[in-house]
Amino acid sequence: MRELALNILDIAENSLSAGAKHVEIAVCADLEKDRMKIVVRDDGCGMDEEMLARVTDPFTTSRTTRKVGMGIPLFKFSAESAGGNFDIRSKKNKGTEVTAEYVISHVDRMPLGDFGGVVLQLVTMNPAMDFTVTAACSGREGVLDTREVREILGEDIPLSAPEVRAFLKEYIQENLVDIFGGRL
């Protein structure tokens, strides 16, 4: 992975596989402290303690097509190789929370990349799932909640409708430019 946004997509795909109904994604940066934090939290099936302990080891996976799960180890590595740290908490039948922290100016910190595109993909391609996406940077903050969007649109217009998708694409990009200004 060359962009943190792709790691975020990948971790959110785990939430999807875990049957989550609601996923919260937050990217929060503090330029003065030179730190940024990514959190992905879901209300999916969670993991028991034994699984949780093994999950950051690249030879753990519950998938059947291949032995090695790489998503979580890659995300962990992205943080730990950029002066940051990584944390995963989970409760069986409750949900999972994954947190990665970075030193923004660290030479090995990957760029955030196309976070807007990833958010657009997540919210428009997963009709059965709701997302709360927060972007914050040194005092500026924006939140996109798909429950709010669905309420405005009503039941018969999906978020994937081309007109809605085009609107959301611009809406997300404009807000992210305003908040992050390409600094991440």
Partner: protein, 121 residues
Amino acid sequence: MKSLEELRALREKMKSQTDNRSVAGSDETVIKVGMATCGIAAGARPVLEALLDEAEKRQLHNVSISQTGCIGMCRLEPIVEVFKDGQKYTYIYMTADKARKVIADHVVNGNPCKEYLIGEN
């Protein structure tokens, strides 16, 4: 800057238009893009975006595009599966450009892009 309030106006506009999107019948084409770690790392996102963009540009109403988990052949990602005319076609090592070609040649004109199909490389 855009606000969510504009969505209300958009909704009203969409409701007043007659919906010709619901005419999709048994001739529907289903397209799936593998979006697990292996697919994402290999570039599945630009492929998905190209498919959506091309389908939208051509106003294809009988095509459904979605993402799926690991298809089980990680080395061949990005993988795109096309279900059309009762058959399954597996395209491997996809790129945005190849994806556009699959829409044009296969989905629209009914000629599978043999050179991208699994087993042909």
